[in-house]
């Protein structure tokens, strides 16, 4: 791989040991993928996870003096102060989150602790070359915004944040962005929950090909697109999709396919989505909590919840996970009050797959997110899968 003199100086340690480690990782990835050279990135997002491996690598870079040239927004761990004040938070868990926070702060990251930066905090424009990890974020910036990111790992994105560079390969190149499989959606997609189901179902059917959707309405909501990408890239490795007439690289079916014939075509019906839900959901019945916000809920979703619950009360614990920015807006608008008066909690900076949820172990909840249900299995949480509105009703009744 060809390196500029600045790349080479960084690799050799002229910019400090931390930058050298980051550059070594990117050069290794570039050589593995036969990239001709590195290119600049204008934005980065790191899927901070607060797991041991994540913390180890962030501390290793920070201890070696690395500082971000393109400061990344970061995914949530959990809100230590919030859980300390309300639950019996494990001392060790609190200490580990504190160390993760400290490491990313030393790296100069933007401590947004939010998994939907593409909606409010870190939005690229079409054609920008970026390094975005996080399963819902990579497809959104590629597909909806038309920016260019590979399916980064948290660590490769962090290395790009530190060096400001990424190898030129994969989805940064025109020829790899074209759609390959046509997905014809027949039937009505009622709300954003159906896009959770659609994403999961399609990922299982098409493997790692780039799908081109037809039959999705032009006024599809940002929340629906967020859910679609999250599930496509969780159930499968699918960091890019097209929707004819909606996404910027798909004005027509032919354009989305890059002028080539599709290698396959699949149909999706309402029945397929219903059976996908039945396959993954716990059976109907009593629930002990509701978990919404994987990915983090938007202000529009939170407003709808607040309007639904006016004067009513939840029978079980009700959690909405969202960004600090959305929570603050909701507070100013009085929405936070409404949710709290109903006995619900709106929690910022927090992911469902974190050790702060120890009190939910062995419990059965309701969620709209297949991703949430999938990743929390190892925390012994189980879920009935319903739309956001049905989750709200279920939490009021105590039964889904």
């Amino acid at each position: 791989m060809r390196l500029t003199s600045q790349d080479r100086r960084m690799l050799e340690g002229d910019y400090g040991e931390g930058a050298a480690i980051a550059m070594q990782v990117l050069v290794g990835i570039g050589e593995a993928f036969d990239a001709p050279h590195l290119v600049d990135v204008s934005r980065t997002h790191v899927a901070l996870s607060n797991q041991d491996g994540d913390r180890w690598f962030a501390e290793k870079l920070a201890d070696a003096g690395a500082v971000s040239r393109v400061p990344p927004t970061v995914n949530p761990g959990f809100n230590v102060a919030y859980f300390k004040s309300r639950y019996d938070l494990d001392q060790q868990a609190a200490e580990e989150m504190r160390r993760t926070h400290d490491a990313y702060r030393r790296l100069g990251a933007r401590l947004t602790y939010n998994c939907t930066p593409y909606l409010e905090l870190n939005i690229p424009r079409q054609g920008e070359i970026v390094a975005f990890s996080e399963s819902s974020a990579t497809p959104y910036v590629n597909s909806v915004w038309g920016a260019r990111s590979n399916r980064e790992s948290a660590q490769s994105a962090l290395c790009s944040a530190i060096t400001g560079r990424t190898p030129l390969y994969g989805l940064l190149l025109d020829e790899n962005r074209a759609g390959q499989v046509v997905v014809d959606v027949r039937g009505q997609l009622v709300d954003e929950f159906d896009y959770h189901l659609l994403g999961w179902y399609v990922a299982k059917r098409i493997g790692s090909h780039v799908p081109v959707f037809t039959g999705i309405p032009r006024d599809v909501s940002p929340e629906s697109l967020m859910n679609l990408g999250a599930e496509l890239n969780t159930a499968g490795a699918c960091p890019m999709y097209h929707i004819v007439g909606v996404t910027p690289e798909a004005p027509t079916l032919d354009a989305a396919l890059g002028g080539k014939p599709a290698i396959d075509r699949i149909l999706v019906t309402e029945d397929d989505l219903r059976s996908q839900r039945e396959e993954l959901s716990e059976p109907s019945g009593r629930i002990e909590f509701a978990m919404l916000g994987c990915p983090h809920l938007t202000l529009a979703q939170l407003s709808k919840i607040a309007a639904t619950i006016k004067g009513r009360h939840f029978a079980v614990e009700f959690f909405v996970l969202t960004s600090f920015a959305t929570r603050e807006q909701a507070r100013r608008m009085g929405l936070l009050d409404q949710v709290e008066r109903a006995g619900g909690q709106v929690v910022a900076d927090t992911c469902p797959d974190q050790p702060c949820w120890r009190h939910l172990m062995g419990k059965r909840g309701v969620t709209d997110s297949l991703k949430c249900s999938y990743y929390t299995r190892r925390r012994a949480q189980s879920y009935v899968l319903r739309s956001v509105q049905d989750c709200v009703e279920a939490a009021i009744r105590g039964e889904a």
Partner: protein, 138 residues
């Protein structure tokens, strides 16, 4: 019975040279679903379920899993000294490559994995990523 021998050309992904018993999988691997204490695969229905990857030359088609869990899985294996000695991978993905680079696991690609179909697990091979060679020992 004639002793099996293999000598294959491959392409370097992460430099280094390591030897170990071959362990061949036809399924993609998520290292989060491997027990760090003994390296045993616990992914339900995986063709290596119940087998340990520790110290092995691990041959598999591709990685799988989100952008964060793969590193944590491999990191935990490393902390317990149970990483594979080397990896021979069919198709590369960014997440797996980044992990292999960061944890310095000798890794190669560019081999037709069908070459391993008739090879018995347990055969000892050396992977020399820098010279682009996989050779049986003895």
């Amino acid at each position: 019975m004639a002793r099996q021998e293999i000598q294959l050309r491959c392409r370097r992904v992460v430099h280094g040279r390591a030897s170990g018993e071959l362990l061949v999988s036809g399924d993609d691997i998520c290292f989060y679903l491997v027990n760090p204490d003994d390296g045993v695969v616990i992914d339900k229905g995986h063709d290596l379920e119940g087998h340990s990857v520790a110290g092995k030359v691990l041959v598999f088609p591709n990685g799988k899993g989100s952008s964060v869990v793969q590193l944590d899985g491999l990191y935990q294996l490393g902390a317990k000294g149970n990483l594979p000695a080397a990896m021979v991978v069919g198709t590369l993905d960014t997440v797996l490559v980044a992990c292999a680079v960061i944890l310095e696991i000798p890794t190669v690609t560019g081999v037709d994995l069908a070459a391993f179909n008739d090879v018995e697990d347990g055969m000892v091979v050396t992977v020399d990523a820098d010279r682009g060679l996989i050779v049986s020992e003895g």
